[in-house]
Symmetry: C2
DNA sequence: AAAATTACCGACCGATCGGTCTTTTTGTGT
DNA sequence: ACACAAAAAGACCGATCGGTCGGTAATTTT
């Protein structure tokens, strides 16, 4: 039941989306032109319209693909760690490693697109906001688990902790990209690590430095 | 010795730059088109080229104007506070108030433009990086003063502190804009306040909540 | 009053934007 | 060999992009 035509279409579709996520991590999702995307993927521009009706639909597909990549590189590996503060820390650590890995030539898809669409209402903005919200919800849920397990102090404000983790993760990208502060990753790591250690009755679960 | 022609030119020039800073805080510095800027300021598009040779020169002028606005609304008021941890805190607080004030319709010029140019080499990127570097240098200098005055622990890492303050200030904008988390300002305030209190031998200098 | 300077405008240019239409290639069933 | 469908290509469209050009109105200098 393998239709080679459909398979071919699926292949180019994901190839285009992967290239688009990388390209959007550099230029942004709106500044990425269809002509350049088509050229980079060795597909004709009209070939893109064979897969998505317009640019907006493609942008939404790109966001979904970016979420998939993020999940595969950050969330899934972090969930190999046991529940609690170790998993919470792993989320942050994996994120920073993902940035350093160079999988996306622009560093981070979401950092690049967030500022671009925060004042531009529409489905694309909504999808981006939903993706970020899901990520924050995940952090909060893992942090809440850590509280339940007694690995974070019971009076820890998980909303506050999620804000700070996200802020430092975001800052690692902006610092290391615009300025060429190669120490950004270390600062981002230290900030969250010290914070979690100060909130945890069992700091031995976290790495030393 | 007042040349009315030069005065007129200076008036429209600053009017255009003010509008451009606001517009760029929404759309970004490259996505801002000259036709729209000209229309918004009731100047003809060719009128813009009478003042700046090309878009890049205008972008550089816009950055200088944004620095000026930032200095007037954030730095100068904060320097009314006495040297040390109070001034350091005031820098963060004034920044958050500036965001909430709605002076710039897009929230923050630098947040909007940073991600846009971090992978786009050239004079505009260099100017943006220089502006951010100056801001970080200022934070570090004020923090170092606080250490000297004994208002921050002598082993406090001013580079690390500057990273965290900038990260939380930045996050206030991104959180309150894309998501409509109205609590963002409170999280950003709490994060830095608690951090400074924990680093200060004289936490009484800082506000209570 | 003439000349020079400054600010600014409307018309226009080539290039590129997102998007449409028609046609060709590629693979699947009979 | 055939019809059929999915994928992709190519030519093309109106709108908009940054930028140029010739010219005009206002003001200052001579």
């Amino acid at each position: 039941m393998a239709d080679g035509r459909l398979a071919r279409g699926e292949r180019t579709r994901t190839a285009v989306l992967d290239a688009a996520v990388s390209m959007a991590s550099v230029d942004g999702l709106e500044a990425m032109s269809l002509a350049r995307l088509a050229h980079a993927t060795e597909v004709s521009k009209s070939g893109l319209f064979a897969h998505w009706p317009d640019k907006e639909a493609l942008q939404l597909a790109v966001i979904a693909r970016a979420v998939h990549i993020w999940t595969a590189h950050v969330v899934t590996p972090a969930f190999a760690e046991p529940r609690g503060v170790r998993r919470l820390w792993a989320l942050h650590e994996r994120r920073i490693e993902f940035y350093a890995s160079g999988v996306l030539s622009g560093g981070c898809f979401f950092v690049a697109t967030q500022a671009e669409f925060d004042d531009r209402p529409g489905p694309v903005r909504d999808a981006l906001a939903a993706a970020i919200n899901d990520w924050l919800f995940l952090i909060k849920a893992v942090a809440a688990q850590a509280v339940e397990l007694g690995e974070l102090r019971p009076d820890a404000d998980v909303e506050q902790v999620a804000f700070e983790i996200e802020a430092h993760g975001h800052a690692v990208v902006t610092f290391s990209r615009l300025l060429h502060a190669e120490g950004a990753a270390a600062y981002g790591r230290t900030a969250v690590l010290e914070r979690l250690r100060s909130l945890s009755p069992v700091p031995g679960l976290l790495p030393a430095s």
